[in-house]
C-alpha cells in the first residue's frame, strides 16, 4: 500500500533535474579562486629502485610553483589500511607502508614519484615530463604463484616474503576430511576470477584548500565516505584533528567501491594546499585512473564439493590466491576473507565448509573492493562448481540446488554467519516463471535452426550486506566502527532536513530516504530535504558501500525520526491538554484517541521553536534528534538468476538473448530505484563475464590501460533485463526490514552467463566443462576446437 511518495512508491528522483540540465556539482566542476594544478609523475616501470629524481630543470619551467618528491613526505604518515587480518597461526598479516610519494622504490606502474604544482594544468604536466628520473629496474613479480616461490623477488624489502597472510576459516580439518572421505562423488574446479577495473564514469578528483586564519584544511574529493577519509587522512597521514579538517564529497559520478578508499592523491592535495597556502587541484585523466584507482577481484581458486550418494552436499573446500597488488588499500585484506569466506556456504546447507585464502603482494596496481567485493568471487566459484557437479551426476541443475537449499531460518553456516531469513525456493519459483524455463527447449530448437547453439544458465546467490555489527567487525580485525548516524532537524514551519552519513553517488538517496521519513510522519516528501557528503554538515558517517545505505543509514534515519515523533507527541499532548500516551500521529496530524482533539504537524513544530505554550519544565525547546544505528547482524539478500545465450559456433561469439533476476531484498522503499540498481549490477556482471579483463604482461606493464583496450559493456552488448523482487522475506533485525540491493546484480550475473555458455557448448556436443572469464570469442572458439 504505497502511500503517496511514501514507502513502496516508485517516486521519480528529485536529483535528476539537476543532472539532466547540466547543473550537477561534481568535484571537477569546483574551481577555487587562485587554485593551482597538480600533475603526478608516475612510474612507467613496475618495480625499480629510485636512484635519482632530479627536479632542477623542471622546477625552473614557466608556471611551476613547487615540485614535491618522497623526501617532502619523510615523517608524514603513510596511507593506512583499515583492516587487519590474523593468519592461520594467529599472527597479524604482513602490512607494508604506502608512502604518499615513493621513497626509495617504485612498486607498480603508476606509483607516484613526484608531484608538480603549477599555475596551469598544462604547465604542471609539462614540468612533470621534464623531471629526470633514474630507476634501476628490478624483476617484477606479477604472477601470484611465482610471487610465493621461495626465491621470488620481494615487493617490499622489509617483509619476510610476498605473502600478506595465509587464512583458514570455517570447519576444522577433521570435519572437512571426514566429509570428503565418505563422499560418493567429488567435483573439482579450478578457475580464475579475473582482475577488473571499476571505471566509474567520473574519474577521481581532489582539491585541497587551507585557511591560515583558522588553520583549517578542506578537501573536496570524489568519495563514497567523506567522514572516513577525514578520519583516515587526518589521524593517520597528516595529523590534522577532525575539527580542523573538513571533507566534502559533492555529486559523485559513480563509485562501485573504488571511491571508498583513502588515496594518496587526497592526502597530497591537502598537504600541498597547506604548504603553499593555495588551493591545489588534481583531476585524474582516464589513463591515470587505469593505473591509480584500486582495481577489483583477481582471485585464482581451486574448489571441491563432496556429495553423498543421494546428491546431498556434505563438504566444501576452497583454496584461493588473492592478489593485493603492491600496497594494501583501505579494506583490501577483508575482501578475500570476511567478505568472501563467510559467504562460501551460499544458499545451501552443506555441513562442512572450509576456506583457505592466501593474499599475495605483486608489482601491480593495488586491489580492493569492487561492486560485490568478495561475494561475487564466492558465488562464482560455488555456482560454477554446482553446475559442473550436476553435469557429472546427470542431475538437473535446478533440482540439485533446490534439494540442498537452506529452508529453515535462522540458519548458522559453518562459515560463521547466521542467515536471519530467506526463501530460496520462493525466489526460484519466481525465476522459473519470469525466465520462462518451460519454453526453453523450443527456443533452443529455433536457435539451432539458425545454426546457433543456445544455452541456459542458472545461478543462486546469497550475500551479506549492511556492514556491519561493529563489535563483530572489531573481533575480525576491522579498525573502525560500522554504524551509521543521522540527524533529523525539524524547522519551525514544519519542513525538515535529514542529515545522513551515507553518501549517494547514483543510488537516489535524496529521493528514497525522504520517502521513509514522509511515510513515518505522514507528511509530503517535498517537505524533506536530504543533506549528505559534507563533514561540516553531518555529525558523523561511515559512508556507502556493501549495500549498506538503506539498511544501516536508513535505519539510523528511522531511529532519529522515532525520537522526533516521541518528542513531538509530548508537545502535542501539552497543546491538547491530553496524556502523551493517548496521542496518535497520522497523516501529519496529532490527535487524541477517542476524542475530536487534534493539532497539525506544523502547530507542533512551531510550538517547539516558539515555546509560548510549551512544557518547558519537562522538555527543551527545539526539535532536532540524532541517532546512531549499529546493526546486530548483516542482512542477507538472496536470489536466483537465469541467463540465455546464443553461441555462434563459427566465431565463438556469445550473445546474451535474455536475462532474468528474481531477488529477495526484503522490504522495498522505491521499486524503481531498486530495479535500476539491479540493472546496473547485471550490466557490470555481464561485462565481467563476457568482456572486461585487466591484463598485465610479465614485466608488470598494464596492457589494458584505456577504453580502447579494456572492453567496457556497451548498450548493444546487453539486453533488456527481466527483474522481479516480489519474493520478500523482510530482514528481522532492522526497523525497515530491508536488506540492500546495490551489489546483487554484479554478484548474481557472472555465473549465470558462464553456466549458460557451457550449457550451449555442451548442447553442441562439445565436452567443455569450464571457460575462464571473460568468455571472449577467442576463448570460446578455442574451447570448442580443443575439446
Amino acid at each position: 500500500m504505497p502511500a503517496d511518495g511514501g514507502i513502496g512508491a516508485a517516486t521519480p528522483r528529485r536529483e535528476d533535474v539537476r543532472f539532466l540540465t547540466g547543473a550537477g556539482n561534481y568535484t571537477d566542476d569546483i574551481n577555487m579562486r587562485g587554485q593551482a594544478y597538480v600533475a603526478f609523475l608516475r612510474s612507467d616501470v613496475a618495480h625499480g629502485k629510485l636512484k635519482k629524481v632530479d627536479t632542477g630543470a623542471a622546477a625552473a619551467m614557466p608556471g611551476v610553483i613547487r615540485i614535491f618528491t618522497g623526501e617532502d613526505f619523510e615523517g608524514v604518515g603513510g596511507i593506512p589500511c583499515g583492516w587487519q587480518v590474523t593468519d592461520r597461526h594467529g599472527e597479524p598479516m604482513q602490512e607494508p607502508p604506502q608512502p604518499v610519494l615513493a621513497q626509495g622504490k617504485v612498486r607498480h606502474i603508476g606509483d607516484r614519484i613526484a608531484a608538480v604544482v603549477a599555475e596551469s594544468l598544462e604547465q604542471a604536466r609539462n614540468a612533470a615530463e621534464a623531471i629526470v628520473v633514474e630507476i634501476e629496474d628490478l624483476p617484477a613479480v606479477v604472477d601470484m604463484k611465482k610471487a610465493l616461490e621461495p626465491d621470488a623477488t620481494k615487493v617490499h624489502d622489509d617483509l619476510k616474503n610476498n605473502l600478506c597472510y595465509d587464512w583458514v576459516f570455517g570447519s576444522d580439518d577433521a570435519a572437512i576430511e571426514g566429509a570428503f572421505s565418505k563422499a560418493a562423488h567429488v567435483t573439482t574446479l579450478e578457475l580464475v576470477n579475473q582482475r577488473l577495473v571499476a571505471n566509474p564514469m567520473e574519474p577521481r578528483v581532489a582539491i585541497g584548500d587551507y585557511a591560515s586564519h583558522s588553520d583549517e584544511s578542506t578537501l573536496y574529493t570524489t568519495s563514497q565516505n567523506p567522514h572516513m577519509i577525514r578520519l583516515l587522512m587526518g589521524a593517520f597521514v597528516l595529523g590534522i584533528p577532525e575539527h580542523k579538517l573538513r571533507v566534502v564529497a559533492p555529486d559523485v559520478g559513480g563509485g562501485f567501491g573504488t571511491k571508498i578508499f583513502h588515496y594518496a592523491e587526497e592526502a597530497f592535495c591537502t598537504f600541498a594546499a597547506k604548504a603553499l597556502h593555495r588551493p591545489v587541484k588534481w583531476t585524474s585523466s582516464r589513463s591515470e585512473a587505469f593505473i591509480s584507482d584500486a582495481q577489483g577481484r583477481d582471485h585464482v581458486t581451486k574448489i571441491e564439493l563432496a556429495l553423498d550418494a543421494e546428491n546431498n552436499f556434505i563438504g566444501l573446500r576452497t583454496d584461493t590466491l588473492a592478489n593485493m597488488g603492491a600496497y594494501l588499500m583501505t579494506v583490501a585484506p577483508a575482501v578475500p576473507t570476511y567478505l568472501h569466506g563467510t559467504l562460501m556456504a551460499g544458499c545451501y546447507r552443506t555441513p562442512a565448509v572450509q576456506v583457505n585464502v592466501r593474499a599475495v603482494f605483486t608489482n601491480t596496481v593495488p586491489v580492493d573492493a569492487y561492486r560485490g567485493a568478495g561475494r561475487p568471487e564466492a558465488t562464482y566459484q560455488l555456482e560454477r562448481l554446482i553446475d559442473k557437479a550436476a553435469r557429472e551426476l546427470g542431475a538437473d541443475p535446478i533440482a540439485l540446488r533446490r534439494q540442498n537449499f537452506v529452508t529453515e531460518f535462522p540458519y548458522t553456516t559453518p562459515v560463521a554467519v547466521q542467515y536471519d531469513t530467506g526463501n530460496y525456493h520462493g525466489t526460484m519459483d519466481v525465476l522459473e516463471k519470469i525466465a520462462d524455463i518451460a519454453g526453453f527447449e523450443k527456443r533452443r530448437k529455433d536457435s539451432e535452426a539458425r545454426g546457433k547453439l543456445r544455452g541456459f544458465g542458472i545461478n543462486c546467490y546469497i550475500e551479506a550486506c549492511g556492514l556491519a555489527p561493529s563489535h563483530l567487525v572489531g573481533q575480525l580485525g576491522g579498525r573502525a566502527g560500522f554504524y551509521e548516524s543521522a540527524t533529523v532537524r525539524v524547522n519551525a514551519t514544519g519542513g525538515l532536513v535529514v542529515m545522513t552519513g551515507s553518501h549517494s553517488h547514483g543510488q537516489g538517496h535524496e529521493t528514497s530516504f525522504p520517502q521513509v521519513v514522509a511515510d513515518m510522519l505522514g507528511i509530503d516528501p517535498s517537505m524533506i530535504e536530504l543533506v549528505h557528503g559534507d563533514t561540516s554538515k553531518i555529525p558523523m558517517g561511515m559512508g556507502t558501500y556493501g549495500s549498506r545505505s538503506l539498511s544501516v543509514g536508513g535505519s539510523a534515519i528511522y531511529r532519529a525520526t522515532e525520537k522526533i515523533i516521541a518528542k513531538a507527541k509530548k508537545i502535542a499532548a501539552h497543546l491538547m491538554e491530553a496524556s502523551e500516551a493517548d496521542v496518535e500521529l497520522k497523516d501529519g496530524q496529532f490527535s487524541v484517541a477517542g476524542t475530536d482533539k487534534s493539532v497539525a504537524w506544523g502547530d507542533v513544530t512551531l510550538a517547539a521553536y516558539v515555546p509560548h505554550n510549551y512544557p518547558l519544565e519537562d522538555i527543551e525547546p527545539g526539535l532536532e534528534e540524532t541517532a546512531f544505528y549499529d546493526p546486530s547482524n548483516f542482512t542477507y539478500p538472496a536470489g536466483a538468476y537465469a541467463c540465455e545465450v546464443e553461441v555462434d559456433p563459427d566465431t565463438g561469439k556469445v550473445e546474451i538473448m535474455s536475462f532474468a533476476a528474481a531477488d529477495d531484498f526484503g522490504n522495498i522503499i522505491n521499486p524503481m530505484i531498486v530495479d535500476g540498481q539491479v540493472h546496473g549490477g547485471i550490466g557490470q556482471g555481464i561485462g565481467q563475464a563476457l568482456l572486461e579483463n585487466c591484463v598485465y604482461d610479465e614485466t608488470g606493464q598494464l596492457l589494458s590501460a584505456s577504453f580502447m583496450d579494456y572492453a567496457m559493456p556497451r548498450a548493444d552488448d546487453v539486453p533488456f533485463y527481466a527483474v522481479d523482487h516480489s519474493s520478500q522475506t523482510p530482514c528481522t533485525h532492522n526497523p525497515l526490514g530491508v536488506k540492500g540491493c546495490g551489489e546483487a546484480g554484479a554478484i548474481g550475473s557472472p555465473p549465470a552467463v558462464v553456466n549458460a555458455v557451457v550449457d550451449a557448448l555442451q548442447s553442441g556436443g562439445h565436452k567443455v566443462d569450464h571457460i575462464d572469464m571473460p568468455v571472449s570469442p577467442a576463448r570460446v572458439w578455442a574451447a570448442m576446437n580443443n575439446a
Binding site: 516508485a10 521519480p12 528522483r13 536529483e15 535528476d16 533535474v17 539537476r18 543532472f19 539532466l20 540540465t21 547540466g22 547543473a23 550537477g24 561534481y26 571537477d28 566542476d29 574551481n31 598544462e122 571505471n199 566509474p200 564514469m201 567520473e202 574519474p203 555529486d251 559523485v252 559520478g253 559513480g254 562501485f256 585523466s285 582516464r286 589513463s287 553517488h505 547514483g506 543510488q507 537516489g508 524503481m672 530505484i673 530495479d675 535500476g676 540493472h679 546496473g680 547485471i682 550490466g683 557490470q684 555481464i686 584505456s706 577504453f707 580502447m708 567496457m712 559493456p713 556497451r714 548498450a715 548493444d716 546487453v718 533488456f720 533485463y721 527481466a722 527483474v723 522481479d724 546484480g745
Partner: protein, 161 residues
C-alpha cells in the same frame, strides 16, 4: 593566444585559447559550463557529447578553434527557459534513465541527435547508436527505454520498470 568565438546555446561566447585547447575544455574551463563532462582521454565514453552545427560531436575530440563561428548546443540549453525539461530529459527522469548522472549529458545529447535522424528507432537501433556512450550505472536498460519512450513509442511491455 588566439581568440575563438562561437554561439553556445544561442548566446555569443568567446575566449582566449591555446591551439591545443579542446572544445570540452573551452566549455568547462573558459566558459564555466560544467554540464559537459569529460570521462576519458581516448574519445570512447561520450560524456562530452555536444551538438556543433546540429551534429552530435565528442567535444573532447575537437579543438576549440575548430568551432570558430559554429553554433554549439550543450546540455545546459536543453530545458526551456522556465526550467521545463524537454521530452528526452523528461523521459530520462520518468524511466529512471540515470543514476550518478555523469554520462547523462552525453546520453541526452546523443539521444537528441538520434531522434532527429531517426524519429522512431527500434531497440537495436538505439543500442547501436549509443555504442559511443558509456554508462557504468544503469546497465543501459532504462536509458534505451527512456529514449524509445521519448520517441513516442509504447514502452509498457518492456520488462520491469
Amino acid at each position: 593566444m588566439p581568440q575563438v568565438s562561437m554561439t553556445v546555446n544561442g548566446k555569443p561566447a568567446s575566449g582566449e585559447v591555446e591551439g591545443r585547447t579542446l572544445l570540452s575544455t573551452f566549455l568547462r574551463e573558459t566558459l564555466g559550463m560544467t554540464g559537459t563532462h569529460v570521462g576519458c582521454d581516448t574519445s570512447q565514453c561520450g560524456a562530452c557529447v555536444v551538438h556543433v552545427n546540429g551534429d552530435a560531436v565528442k567535444s573532447c575530440t575537437m579543438f576549440a578553434l575548430e568551432a570558430e563561428g559554429a553554433d554549439v548546443a550543450t546540455i545546459e540549453g536543453q530545458a526551456a527557459a522556465d526550467g521545463t525539461l524537454n521530452a528526452i530529459q523528461a523521459a530520462f527522469q520518468e524511466h529512471h534513465g540515470l543514476q550518478c548522472g555523469f554520462c547523462t549529458p552525453g546520453m541526452v545529447m546523443s539521444a537528441a541527435a538520434l531522434l532527429k535522424e531517426n524519429p522512431k528507432p527500434s531497440e537495436a537501433e538505439v543500442r547501436k547508436y549509443l555504442s559511443g556512450n558509456l554508462c557504468r550505472c544503469t546497465g543501459y536498460h532504462n536509458i534505451v527505454k527512456a529514449i524509445m519512450a521519448a520517441s513516442g513509442q509504447d514502452v509498457g511491455a518492456i520488462a520491469a520498470e
